[in-house]
C-alpha cells in the first residue's frame, strides 16, 4: 500500500489538473468577447415581422456585437412583435433616433438585429423604445412582390407602346 503522503500528493495533482482543464475549457474556448455584465441596459423594438429571429441572437452595430436579443413576445395591444434587446453597458451613447433592422447573416445564416446610428445628440436610456424599425425580409413576400412588380411593368409597357407608334404615323 502506497504511503498516504504519495496518495495525497497524487490526488491533489489530479484534482488540480482536472480543475485546470475545466478552467481552460470555460475561458479559452468559449466566446469571451461578449459576456453580459450586470452593467447592461434594455431597449424595446416592435416589428411587424421578425422572420426567424430568436432570443439570444446578436445585436450589432457596424458588424460589432454590442448586445443580445433577450426576449421576444407578441404585444396584443400594438398587434406587433415586441423584441427586448439587452445592450452592453459599454455602449451607452447610442443616438436615440437610431433604427433597428433584422438582417440575415450570410445567405442562409441566422438572423440578427442591426442598429444603424441616427443623428440625435441624446442617447438611448434603459427601457427606451426604438422608433425606427425595419422588418425582416421574408422570402415569400419578396417573390410575390417581384412577380407583382414584373406583372405591373408588363401591363404598363403594353398600352404605352401601342399609342406611340400610332402617334408617329
Amino acid at each position: 500500500m502506497r504511503s498516504t503522503r504519495t496518495i495525497d500528493i497524487s490526488t491533489g495533482l489530479f484534482v488540480l489538473l482536472g480543475f485546470a482543464a475545466i478552467l481552460f475549457m470555460v475561458t479559452q474556448i468559449t466566446n469571451r468577447e461578449f459576456s453580459l455584465t450586470s452593467d447592461s441596459y434594455r431597449l424595446k423594438a416592435s416589428f411587424e415581422n421578425i422572420g426567424g429571429l430568436k432570443p439570444g441572437a446578436p445585436v450589432s452595430m457596424a458588424g460589432v456585437t454590442v448586445g443580445r436579443v433577450e426576449d421576444i413576445t407578441y404585444d396584443m395591444k400594438l398587434l406587433k412583435a415586441l423584441v427586448t434587446l439587452r445592450i452592453d453597458g459599454r455602449y451607452n451613447a447610442i443616438p436615440n433616433d437610431s433604427d433597428a433592422s433584422i438582417f440575415t447573416a450570410g445567405l442562409l445564416g441566422g438572423q440578427y438585429v442591426a442598429l444603424s446610428p441616427g443623428g440625435s445628440e441624446e442617447a438611448f436610456k434603459n427601457g427606451d423604445q426604438v422608433e425606427f424599425v425595419q422588418d425582416a425580409v421574408v422570402l415569400e413576400n419578396l417573390i410575390s412582390k417581384y412577380l407583382f412588380d414584373s406583372a405591373a411593368k408588363k401591363s404598363e409597357a403594353a398600352p404605352a407602346s401601342a399609342p406611340a407608334p400610332a402617334a408617329q404615323e
Binding site: 490526488t11 495533482l13 482543464a21 469571451r32 468577447e33
Partner: protein, 255 residues
C-alpha cells in the same frame, strides 16, 4: 409457447435486477450526507479511480483528438471550410466524445477495479466479518468508492477534452498547416458556455451511473473466483450500455 414463457421470465428477472439496483442506489443516497464527512477514505478512492486512470485517459484523449483532427480536416476540405477545424473538434469533444469515451474508459479501468476489490472482499468474507463486527460495510467500503468515482469522472472528462483539443491542433496546425490563430479564434467565437456545461453535466451523470454499477456488481458478486470475474465483466458491459442510453436521453434533453 415456451419461448414466450422464457421471454416473460427473463423480462421479470430483468425488472427484478433493476429494482434491486434502485434499492441499492437509494441506500447509498441515504448514507451519502454523513459519508461525505469521512474525507480520508474518499481522497483515497479519488486517487484509486481518478489519479490512476490519468495515463489511459490522457493517452486516449490525445489520440482521439488527433483522429478528430485528421477526419475533420479531410471532411472540411471538401467544403472548403478548413478554418472550422477548431470549432468542429471542440464541439464534438465537449458534447459527445469527451464524456462518452471517458465514461467507457473509466468503466474499463476504474469500474472493474472497484468491482474486483469489492467482489474480493465479499469472497474472502471481509464483508461478512464487518457485518459481524456490527460495522455497516456500505458506509465503510462501498460509499467512499462510489463518491470517489463520481468526483473523479468530470475531472477526467475535462482532461480528456483539453488533451484532445491539443491533439487536434497538433494534427491540424503542425501537419496540415491550418492557421493556428484561426483554429483557436474560430473555436472561441462558435463554442458556447452551454457546450461546456453540457459536457460537464454528462460527465457527472455518467460518473454516477458507472460508479454505481461498479460498486453494485462488486458488492453483490457471488463469493467465488468466478463470481468476481463475472462481476467485472458485467460492470463493463452494463456501464457501456447504460452510458450510451443516458447519452441519448441527455443529448435530447439539452439540445
Amino acid at each position: 409457447m415456451t419461448i414466450l414463457r422464457e421471454l416473460l421470465q427473463s423480462f421479470l428477472t430483468f425488472l427484478e435486477r433493476v429494482g434491486l439496483l434502485a434499492r441499492f442506489a437509494l441506500q447509498l443516497l441515504v448514507i451519502t450526507p454523513a459519508g461525505l464527512l469521512r474525507v480520508r477514505p474518499i481522497i483515497e478512492q479519488v486517487y484509486n479511480t481518478g489519479a490512476l486512470s490519468l495515463v489511459i485517459i490522457m493517452t486516449c484523449g490525445l489520440f482521439v483528438g488527433m483522429v478528430l483532427g485528421l477526419q475533420g480536416y479531410d471532411l472540411l476540405t471538401r467544403f472548403g471550410s478548413e478554418e472550422y477545424l477548431g470549432t468542429a473538434t471542440a464541439i464534438s469533444l465537449l458534447r459527445e466524445l469527451g464524456p462518452v469515451v471517458t465514461a467507457l474508459l473509466f468503466a474499463g479501468r476504474a469500474g472493474t477495479a472497484l468491482a474486483a476489490e469489492l467482489g474480493l472482499m465479499r469472497a474472502t468474507d471481509q464483508i461478512a466479518a464487518m457485518e459481524i463486527m456490527a460495522v455497516d460495510p456500505m458506509r465503510r467500503v462501498v460509499l467512499p468508492r462510489f463518491l470517489g468515482g463520481v468526483i473523479a469522472m468530470p475531472l477526467l472528462v475535462s482532461i480528456f477534452v483539453v488533451v484532445g483539443l491539443f491533439g487536434a491542433q497538433l494534427v491540424g496546425v503542425e501537419f496540415f498547416g491550418v492557421d493556428s490563430g484561426s483554429f483557436w479564434s474560430q473555436m472561441r467565437s462558435s463554442v458556447e458556455l452551454s457546450d461546456v456545461r453540457e459536457g460537464l453535466i454528462k460527465g457527472v451523470v455518467f460518473g454516477i451511473a458507472c460508479s454505481l454499477i461498479a460498486v453494485y456488481e462488486g458488492y453483490n458478486a457471488l463469493p467465488t473466483a468466478e463470481g468476481v470475474g463475472r462481476a467485472t465483466t458485467r460492470t463493463v458491459v452494463i456501464s457501456a450500455v447504460v452510458t450510451l442510453i443516458l447519452d441519448y436521453i441527455l443529448t435530447a434533453l439539452m439540445l
